[in-house]
């Protein structure tokens, strides 16, 4: 697993994706890797999970010792990318703030995503393309929850298919190579052990294969409930009648069983993948300490 530079953490809203991204980053930092977590747009979930707060776009904060955090908003990513990769065309700031350019970006297939993933790619370069910027051993991308991650990763080739020449098109080949090299980029899907998240994970696997030839090999199933009861105990519970504690125990047992079924379904659909389960943490709030616990469980996934 040497040479892995980018981990893309993906999953729908509410599955704890940002928590997992934070935990993966912490696991890497503990192994001595200079790590940066990148979030897109106005989201600052990872920084919040670690008790810090996100800085202004593209300003690097340090929510956990040794770990950096960057928030990218589209416009800043655009500006930075143009500044680094296409210097001298026009002042990047002017271009990025032009409404005409903004509309142009929106109308051009793959361009908006390309500018985002381009900045993420730049963060993983050694040396950095941005002058004076410090290099990282690992970039963890907390991909947007409601976005289409296969589309995001396919942006370089989408864009290249409609704009074959020019400085950005040339760059696309290099970015695409990194993203589709399993040694360099790993996609980690986060799900909860429920019907829809598991279905969506299986669909994502198909989409990554079809659009990019990327194999989804790592899934983190979050918030898995375990039961202290055995199936044989259920009959014995009848002896305690209507007790609310018994109702709780039955509920927990039923939930744990449903979770086991969904995990089995996921494993059947992805027989070659590494499926790591993270326990449901029955605490009032998820704090840094719990993230560190989760990091220990995820250690095998981080390079």
């Amino acid at each position: 697993m040497t040479g892995r530079r980018l981990i893309v953490v993906t999953g729908k809203g509410g599955v704890g994706k940002s928590t997992v991204a934070a935990a993966l980053a912490v696991a890497a930092v503990r192994r001595g890797q200079r790590t940066v977590v990148v979030e897109v747009a106005a989201s600052d979930d990872v920084a919040r999970a670690l008790g810090g707060s996100a800085g202004d776009s593209l300003r690097e904060t340090e929510p956990y010792p040794g770990m950096r955090h960057v928030t990218i908003d589209r416009r800043a990513a655009m500006e930075a990318y143009l500044h680094d990769e296409v210097p001298g065309v026009v002042p990047a700031a002017l271009l990025a703030r032009s409404r005409a350019f903004e509309l142009f970006v929106a109308a051009t297939p793959g361009m908006s995503d390309l500018l985002t993933i381009g900045k993420v790619w730049e963060l993983a370069q050694r040396p950095r393309h941005t002058r004076g910027a410090s290099p990282y051993d690992l970039v963890v991308l907390d991909a947007p929850a409601s976005g289409n991650v296969a589309g995001l990763l396919a942006a370089p080739r989408t864009f290249r298919s409609i704009a074959r020449v020019g400085p950005i098109a040339n760059q696309c080949a290099a970015i695409d190579r990194t993203l589709t090299d399993a040694g360099a980029t790993q996609v980690v899907a986060v799900a909860t052990p429920e019907q829809m998240p598991v279905t969506e994970t299986l669909m994502l696997r198909g989409a990554l294969r079809r659009q990019l030839g990327i194999e989804l090999r790592a899934v983190v199933v979050n918030r898995v409930v375990c039961t202290p009861l055995h199936d044989e105990d259920l009959e014995a519970l009848a002896g305690a009648g209507d007790d609310p504690a018994v109702a709780s125990a039955r509920w927990l047992h039923g939930r744990a069983q449903a979770h086991r079924e969904q995990i089995a379904r996921l494993r059947r659909g992805m027989p070659d993948a590494d499926v790591v389960t993270l326990p449901f943490l029955f605490t009032r709030e998820l704090r840094r300490q719990q993230i560190e616990q989760l990091a220990a469980r995820l250690d095998g996934l981080a390079p």
Partner: protein, 361 residues
């Protein structure tokens, strides 16, 4: 009638809003079914339903129109449906296509727009297009008549507030001065825009720029119509007979989203019919702690099992306490008497009917 049912009485449009992942679509379906069971003719507009719910609602007919739903598939077999329920899944591209056909000055222009590669891209990816078309569809169904109530399940966006501002964002983006830049690339154009054009051409090549220019030329004729439609739909949102139901779960992010959204509704003079908190764990108010629970159960279950059960109970209590605090916080922040809590269950489709009765019975 429940508090929520009273507040929804007489409303023609019910919009279920809230953060993604809280179970909005299920709640919307239950609200729609509940209104139908009271005798109304109801149309449900969904955005992104889970496959099983989509099948039960008969949403395999993807023609962007509401079609009759068989209430038995939602478990309402014994519930005599005095009214009617129809449902549809919103097709963003198709709704835009319909708008283009409606607003274009002639069929040739409409065809040219629909065939334009920039239109293809813009109509699905431009920020706010899901929200804009959802409201546009709502408006169309309301105008058409034939429904006593229309229930909209809003798009799964990170910020529910995007929904409220989508029409103005979308049309603002296509504003007149911007179009002028593309339509007259020389002469009166600002020097800066000339530079931008040059840059765009160098960065991406000429072909793309041509497509974009053609697109804006075609669309300039529609813009007045699009803006008028945006104004109409915005009026719809503030209408007396339109009500919002805010949906949340006890988790932090959706909760803050719900509070934020409710305040935004107030600020814009929009009407809130109620708040629903989904996936709440019930608290055992009589709980005396793990050891006491184990002791209480030991005679009936034996020590080992009693201890295991007490442990499970303690865990579930923690969840429930957390949820209760969240619900209290929401109730206080929004001063909301009609706050309904929906208990956390592995929801079977048959439960939609039960949920409908719970919310609106």
């Amino acid at each position: 009638m429940s508090g929520l049912a009273t507040r929804l009485d007489g409303k023609r449009i019910v919009i279920c809003a809230g953060a993604g992942g809280v179970g909005k679509t299920t709640i919307s379906a239950a609200v729609a079914l509940g209104l139908a069971s009271q005798g109304l003719r109801v149309a449900l507009v969904t955005i992104d339903p889970a496959r099983r719910l989509a099948e039960a609602l008969g949403l395999d007919r993807l023609d962007n129109e509401p079609r009759g739903v068989d209430p038995a598939r939602l478990g309402a077999g014994d519930l005599r449906l005095r009214g009617e329920l129809s449902a549809m899944m919103l097709d963003v591209k198709r709704t835009f296509d319909e708008l283009v056909a409606l607003l274009a000055p002639d069929p040739a222009t409409a065809r040219a727009i629909l065939a334009n590669p920039v239109y293809e891209q813009l109509s699905t990816t431009l920020a706010g297009s899901q929200e804009y078309t959802a409201i546009a569809k709502l408006f169309e169904l309301e105008q058409r008549g034939g429904y006593d109530a229309i229930v909209l399940d809003t798009p799964p966006s990170r910020s529910a507030i995007d929904f409220l501002h989508a029409p103005e964002r979308l049309t603002g983006f296509l504003d007149g001065r911007l179009l002028a830049i593309f339509l007259a690339p020389s002469g009166q154009v600002l020097r800066a825009a000339g530079i931008v054009f040059g840059a765009m051409r160098r960065i991406t090549g000429v072909g793309l720029l041509d497509d974009l220019t053609t697109f804006f030329r075609l669309v300039s004729g529609l813009l007045a119509g699009l803006r008028a439609r945006a104004a109409d739909v915005e009026r719809l949102l503030t209408d007396q007979r339109t009500a919002f139901v805010v949906v949340s779960s006890p988790e932090r992010a959706p909760l803050e989203e719900a509070i934020h959204f409710a305040r935004e509704l107030e600020r814009n003079g929009m009407h809130r019919a109620g708040v629903i908190v989904n996936r709440v764990h019930p608290l055992d108010a009589g709980d005396l702690g793990r050891a006491a629970t184990a002791r209480r159960l030991a005679p009936a279950l034996g020590c080992a099992l009693a201890d295991a059960v007490a442990g499970a109970h303690a865990r579930v209590q923690l969840l429930a306490a957390r949820d209760r605090d969240a619900v209290d916080e929401l109730r206080a922040a929004l001063d909301e008497p009609a706050l309904a809590c929906v208990l956390d269950r592995e929801r079977d489709l048959r439960d939609i009917a039960a949920l409908a009765a719970e919310l609106l019975g």
